[in-house]
Structure formats: C-alpha cells, structure tokens
C-alpha cells in the first residue's frame, strides 16, 4: 500500500491499491480476481468492522464498499472511514443494488465519493475506479493549489471576495479576506457592516466611489482606511472587476482586498525621508523649495507678499571644530527645535499639488526647514509688511539667547538672518533665496547676531565681492601680487636684522589693502597658491638683496595654518631657496598665535621638519590668543612677536606694560627672541627697550615698502644714522643676557 500521495503532480499509481469490503465471499473472491486481473492490488475485507481494522495499518488509494452488509453496513463503515484522520478525502465507491435508490442517496450522505451498481461487468467497475482515482488526484491538486493560494494570500494579507447584486446576492468573502478584516473563517460579513468599519469622514467618499463604480460597472481600485474591531487602524486596498451574466447584465463584482498598511507606512516613510532632514526632522531643502514654490504661486495669484528668512548660525564651525561633530549635531537639533517655535510650523509632507482647502490653504506651507549645514530657512507664506518678517526674525534671534547645553558644556550661539520678500526682492524662489543670502551676509560682515532685509544696495556689495574673487583668481597669473617689506630693527645697534614680507595686490593701478583680500583668499582657498607664490618671491628677493647689498638676514613670510598642514610645504620651500641658490635659513615663517593653537596637532610635524632644515618659526600677534604654555616649551619656535595692541597702549595703561614684561620674561626663559610690532613712537620704543625688548618693527622705523625702497631707506636713513630713533637706545641699557640682542648678531654689510 502507498501512503497518501505527497506531490500533487505525481502520476496516478501504476497499480492502485484497492480495499474491497463485501460480506459475500463469492463476490469478494470474484471481484478481487477480476480487479487483480486489471492491474489493481487488492486487499479484501469481509465486513465493515474488518475493513476499519485493515485501515488502521494501511492506506489504500481507493475503497470499494458493499452497501448492504450484516453488522456494520456500508454506510456506517463509510462514515467511520471518513472520521479516521487521513481518510477524509480518500475515494470510496459504494456498491448498491440496481434499483436501490435509497442506498444511492444514503451512500452520498455517508460521505461516499460515488456509487456503483453491483454487477459482474468487471471492466465497468475497473473503469469507474480509474475515473475516481483520477478525480481524486485532481481534487488533491486543487486542494493543494487552493491551500497554496490561501497561504500566498495570507502572506500578502490578501483575500478574495464576490459581491452579487439583487435580493439573493450579497457579499461572499474568502476566509483569507475575512482575516484581512480581523474576522474568523466562518464569520459572515455584510457590505454594510464592512462599510461601518470605515471612519465616518472617509465613509461617505468611499460609498460615493462604490456607487459610481457599480452604476457604470467600471473597475474599482481604491484604498480605504478601516478601524478593526480591536481598534487597530489599517489601510485596505480593494481591487475589483465587474462580472456580467449571460445576458450581459452586470451581475456583481469579484476581486481582492489587501491590507496595504505596511506598504503605505513604508511609502510614507520614504516620502518623509525624501522631504525631511534626518537630523532635525525639519523639512529639507527639497521640501522647502517645493513649499516656497507653492507659496510663490499662491502669492502671485492672490497678490500678497511672502517672506523667506535665511538663518545662518554664527561661528558654528568653531563649535563643530572644538566640541566635535556629535556636539555640533546636538546643537543643530536644539536650534531646529527652537526655530520651529518661532513660526506656525507645519510638519505635513507636501507633494504634488496643494489641495485647495480654501483660500488660505497656503498658510499650511509655513515652516522652518534646514537648507543644509547650519543654514535654516523660515518660510512665511503671507506677510502684509516688512514688519511681519522682522518680527519673526527678532523671535529667531531671541530664541538663540538662551545657552544650549551640548557636549557637556553650555554654548552660546547666535544667528544672522537675511530676509527677502516677494515680490519686491525677487519673483522666483531662486532670486529670493539668493537675496536673502545677500542680506544674511551683510549681517555677518557687520558683526553677526542680527537680521537684515535685503536691499539692492547690499546686492551691489555682494557683486563687488564676487568680482573681487574672480579678479583675485587671476591676480597671480597676471603678476598683480607684490610683496612689501617692513624691516625689523635692533634699536640698540641701530641695525636692520631682518624683514617681514607683507602681501599687497596691485589692482588696476591701486593697492588693495590686505584686509580686503586676505580673508577672501582664506575663504576661497586661494591663500594656498598665493602663499606659495610669496615664498618663491621672498626667496628671489633675498637673493637680489644679497647681490645688491650683501643682505644676510631672513625674510619672514606669513603663512596660515592651512599651509602648515600641507605635507609638501618643506619641499616647496626647499625648491624656492635652491632655485635662487640661497640657504634655507633666509626664509622665516610667521604663524599667528591663534592659528597655531587651533591647529596645533596638525601643524607640529611641519614645524619640526622646517626647524630641521633651518627655517625658523615666529609666532605672530603673541599675547592675543590662548597659548598653551606647556606646548610653547616644546614647540620648535624661535621668536615671539608682541602684538601691536599692547605696544600701542605702552606708557598709557600700566596693564599693557605688565603684559609686555611678562611676554619678554617668558621669551627669555624659553630662550626665544622677542620682537615688538607696531612701534610708532619714540616713547614706545624707549619703554620697550627699557623692558628688555631690543628688536622692533613699526612705522617709527619704516612702513612696509617695496623692495627697492627698502634699500634706499637703508642707504639714506640707517647708514647715515639720520633717523630720530637712532642713538636713543644705548647698548648698556639692555640687560646683559637679553636674547633679543642675539637678533643683531648678523651685521649689515654694504657693498
């Protein structure tokens, strides 16, 4: 005997196993012989009881049961067989008498698959058995594919339904469909009760849709929100096609229902990700631009003004650099939270068209969004005057007043706000954003932490800046950059002991002051090629002076930390000096104290390598920043330059001489030279000298001059000792161990 077939596509068994049950021994024998003859494998049982015993151990492919038997008759046996697990669907053929109608009916009632009138025509019986086996196989396949479909539908949270029109019609749902709605497989659900699961607000629209579809017998495809009996909210997709009867009359609908809640949520999530900034949760650039475009359309149509506020945090980079990006992110989140509170912020995801929910629907566009980095935008879809936008800008600035606690410490942030108003300041979103940007930059350049409304006058300035940037790009190739030199003077010996090179830009016959183009060069990165040029030029100049008057000192070139971070700086300097055949030591590098300390870790390797090849490092603007004294003792530096601010106050405020004294003492104990900058008066010179600083720089001696003038100055002023400062400081006034005096070790010789 074979176990129940496991594969729906199995062929029929070659020798089907038959259990034949008959109390008539002759018939049992004869039928057995006849069916064996026809390729069946037979098991015979002479009673219903015996048959049930046999089935305990074996599963035949088909059972042939005599209807009338003493004891357990065919009907009772059939019922007992159907009750056995695994025999629910095995084909049972009931053998009845020719005119025994009652038995035929009873046979079906007892669960028999079919009946056969007892006869001696064995071929007919064999044929019927084959037919039943095939039908059973087909049924099995159907059952399996139905189960697969049910499983697939179940996985897809899908089920099918039929809806018939008319009195006897109604809704018939598969058990999978019932499950979609949270019902058991045997529950009945009417269309009415189903519609009651749709929230009232949406129900009316859905019913209208159903009516419309039914009236025109059109395909129905829609999503409907429902609330399950347990209160869960789901979204059900309904897809149905009309069915027609043989007369072409609309008979009803057949279709599927599917729970698409998860897909919807995923779609919503995707839409959210595409439109909102992941960090702050605010609308992102895309969403902001979209909203601004809609606001613009509405403003144009309804002829009102709308405002764009561009909000940029001040010094955010410093916070990011010092406290780390994590803290920077935390700060942005908090700023975003505060900014939201400044407007009637709407979080609704908006795409496609703005639903026309009344004339004032554009109000829903109002929002604060993050454009990127530390830039935010507030969109005010309707303002009646500048003052409206200004009020919001004020609110924004106020919102920043409270310190923000990030990275374990309180941070004080401020913002610069630029405002542009449609239509006056632009008629496209791009123009408005650009002009808000111009206004914001004007705030930045005037000290930050304020708001400004765009004006064409500001744009002029912006254009100037752009032009300047373009021109600066070309300045190097056009040879418009020049170096001016300011001598460093050993006042006691009345000698020049070196010079500082200062960059100037000769543009269209005018000299552009460094303050106008150095920050721009820093911002744009042009400072790198410009500094490289300065190094080359300084080396060339030293060589020229050596030829002209045996110059034997160094020229100091100012470099930003950005240059020190470049791994090829040493090599570049090497190339510059060897190209003109001068030693490395003729180049000295100045870095500001602030610059050095900010990028200390990145700069230290360069400092060491430079020091090794003989290039000395001088710290500029010393005293204005926050030097780590611990680092100062280990850094390979040679010189400190006292900031001009202390020199200016010398002899006026006692504090400044205290600072200068301290710097000099520090330099002395660290074995560093000290140079005072910005010396303009004899009095300053004398005080500095008295305090122990012997090397100075300033207008008292010479302003920065073109290289040829420096030579003239030396020849006409220093050498003839004609200047008023010469002779004021005598050697014996200096402390005997002043390292400042060491700066004068190299003598000026004239050819």
């Amino acid at each position: 005997m074979t176990p129940a077939s496991t594969d729906a596509f199995d062929a029929l068994p070659a020798q089907p196993q038959v259990l034949l049950v008959d109390d008539d021994e002759v018939n049992l024998l004869l039928t057995g012989i006849a069916l064996r003859e026809r390729g069946f494998r037979m098991t015979e049982a002479s009673s219903g009881e015996r048959a049930l015993e046999v089935l305990r151990a074996h599963a035949p492919d088909i059972i042939v049961l005599d209807a009338i038997m003493p004891g357990l008759d065919g009907f009772a046996t059939c019922r007992a067989i159907r009750a056995l697990p695994g025999f629910e669907n095995v084909p049972v053929l009931m053998l009845t008498g020719l005119d025994d109608d009652a038995s035929i009916t009873r046979a079906y009632q007892a669960g028999a698959t079919d009946f056969f009138v007892k006869a001696t025509q064995w071929s007919l019986l064999a044929g019927r058995l084959h037919y039943l086996l095939r039908a059973s196989q087909t049924r099995l396949e159907l059952e399996r594919s139905k189960a697969k479909l049910a499983r697939a539908q179940d996985l897809a949270r899908m089920g099918s339904f039929d809806w018939r029109r008319g009195e006897h019609g109604g809704l018939l749902m598969s058990s999978e469909a019932l499950r979609v709605f949270g019902f058991g497989p045997h529950e009945r659900l009417s269309l009415r009760s189903l519609l009651r699961m749709v929230p009232r607000d949406e129900r009316r629209a859905l019913m209208r849709q159903l009516h419309d579809a039914a009236r025109s017998s059109s395909v129905l495809a829609t999503d409907a929100p429902i609330v399950l009996l347990d209160g869960r909210q789901r979204i059900i997709h309904v897809d149905a096609e009309p069915e027609f009867d043989e007369h072409g009359q609309a008979a009803g609908y057949t279709g599927i229902v599917q729970d698409v809640t998860d897909r919807r949520q995923a779609e919503d999530k995707i839409r959210h990700l595409a439109n909102f900034d992941a960090l702050t949760g605010l609308p992102n650039r895309r969403q902001l631009i979209w909203r601004a475009e809609r606001a613009l359309e509405q403003a144009r149509r309804l002829e009102h003004q709308f405002a764009l506020l561009l909000i940029d945090l001040d010094r955010f980079k410093v916070i990011n650099d010092t406290l780390g990006h994590g803290a920077g992110d935390e700060l942005l989140v908090e700023v975003g939270r505060r900014l939201r509170a400044c407007v009637r912020h709407s979080d609704q995801v908006m795409e496609g068209t703005l639903e026309s929910a009344g004339m004032r629907s554009h109000r829903a566009l109002e929002a604060v969004g993050r454009l990127g980095g530390d830039e935010f935008v507030a969109l005010l879809p309707e303002v009646s005057a500048d003052a409206d936008a200004e009020r919001v800008a004020e609110r924004v600035l106020e919102a920043m007043h409270e310190p923000i606690f990030v990275g374990g410490q309180e941070c004080f942030v401020s913002a610069s706000v630029g405002v542009a108003i449609y239509p006056r300041d632009g008629t496209t979103v791009v123009d408005l954003l650009r002009n808000a940007d111009v206004a914001m930059y004007s705030v930045k350049s005037q000290g930050k932490n304020a708001a400004a409304i765009y004006s064409p006058h500001l744009a002029g300035r912006g254009r100037d800046k752009l032009e300047l940037e373009t021109a600066l790009h070309k300045a190097i190739e056009r040879d418009e950059l020049v170096l001016h030199y300011q001598p460093k003077i050993d006042v006691r010996a009345a000698r020049m002991v070196g010079a500082e090179a200062l960059m100037r830009w000769r543009r269209g016959g005018k000299l552009v002051p460094p303050s106008d183009f150095i920050p721009l060069a820093e911002d744009t990165g042009l400072i790198v090629p410009m500094s490289e040029w300065a190094l080359r030029e300084a080396a060339r100049q030293v060589h020229a002076w050596q030829q002209a008057f045996a110059f034997d000192d160094s020229v100091a070139v100012n470099l930003s930390s950005r240059l020190f971070e470049r791994s090829d700086l040493v090599e570049h300097i090497h190339r510059c000096v060897t190209a003109v055949n001068v030693p490395h030591r003729v180049i000295q590098l100045e870095i500001t104290e602030n610059n050095l300390m900010k990028e200390l870790q990145n700069v230290i390797p360069s400092l060491h390598r430079l020091n090794e090849i003989g290039v000395e490092i001088s710290i500029d603007d010393f005293g204005t920043g926050y030097s780590s004294l611990a680092y100062l003792t280990t850094l390979p530096i040679s010189e400190l330059k006292i900031d001009r601010s202390f020199v200016r106050e010398l002899g006026i405020t006692p504090q400044s001489s205290a600072v200068v004294t301290a710097i000099i003492a520090l330099a002395r104990s660290l074995g560093l030279r000290v140079v005072a900058e910005g010396v303009e008066t004899l009095r300053q010179m004398e005080v500095l000298h008295r305090l122990g600083c012997g090397v100075m720089q300033g207008f008292l001696f010479s302003r920065p001059v073109p290289p040829e003038e420096l030579q003239t100055w030396l020849e006409q002023t220093v050498l003839p000792r004609k200047a008023p400062w010469i002779g004021r400081a005598t050697p014996n006034e200096l402390p005997p161990d002043a390292p400042a005096a060491a700066g004068g070790a190299r003598l000026l010789r004239f050819v």
Binding site: D24, E25, L29, L30, I33, I68, G97, K118, T120
Partner: protein, 123 residues
C-alpha cells in the same frame, strides 16, 4: 428435507463464461475456487435460514436474500438469484414477519442450486 422441492437446473452459461474469462487457461482454478466458495457460503446460509424462528424477522431474511442474490447471480444460479431478488424487494422496508413457506421456498431453490454446484465440483 424441506417440504418444498425444486428441481436442480444447470448454471447459466453466460455467467460461467464470464467466470472462465477471468482465468481463460484455467491455471488459477478460478472457476473451481468460486464454485467452492459459493458452495460453502450457500450451505452455511441455507443452514441459517433453516434455523430461523417462525415467523422470522424480515430484515434478517432480506439481508440473507441480498447476499445470496448477488453471489448466485455471479455463478449463474439465476433461479436462486431471481428468487432472492423478489423476496428482498418484497421485504425491504417492511416490518412484517416472514412466513415459513416463503423461507422454505427459498431454501428449496437454494438446495437445487447447491446440488448443481456440488455436481459440478465433483465433475
């Protein structure tokens, strides 16, 4: 010996031909096996009929007639088959008791068939 007598008649040729057709070369002794089985079963049944009380239960007699009907038809004892069929039809669904003479008639027809079959088995 029952009161009613019935003369033995030969088995139906067509039925026998069908039986022979199941074992055309007679290698499996199908005919003999079937006849032997019929003989055993018929003898036992006739004994049961003879032992029935008077009057007998219609359902019991109808059941016996039903069984005898198909087996006798199979071996070609057509008289017995038709007798059983008639009796079964008359008794099916009735509660009435069965008269002794009806049983005796059935026994007599059965004895005749038994005689024929025994003769064939001996031959």
């Amino acid at each position: 010996m029952s009161a009613t007598y019935c003369a033995p008649a030969p088995l139906d040729a067509a039925a026998l031909a069908r039986l022979r057709a199941l074992d055309p070369e007679g290698r499996n002794g199908v005919l003999v096996r079937v006849l032997a089985a019929f003989e055993t079963s018929l003898a036992r049944t006739l004994g049961q009929l003879a032992a029935l009380p008077d009057p007998a239960d219609a359902a019991v007699v109808a059941g016996v007639a039903h069984t005898l009907k198909s087996s006798s038809a199979s071996v070609g004892a057509l008289h017995l088959a038709s007798t059983c069929e008639e009796l079964e039809r008359r008794l099916r669904g009735t509660q009435a008791a069965v008269q002794r003479h009806e049983i005796e008639r059935l026994i007599a027809v059965g004895e005749a068939a038994l005689t024929t079959v025994r003769a064939m088995l001996r031959a």
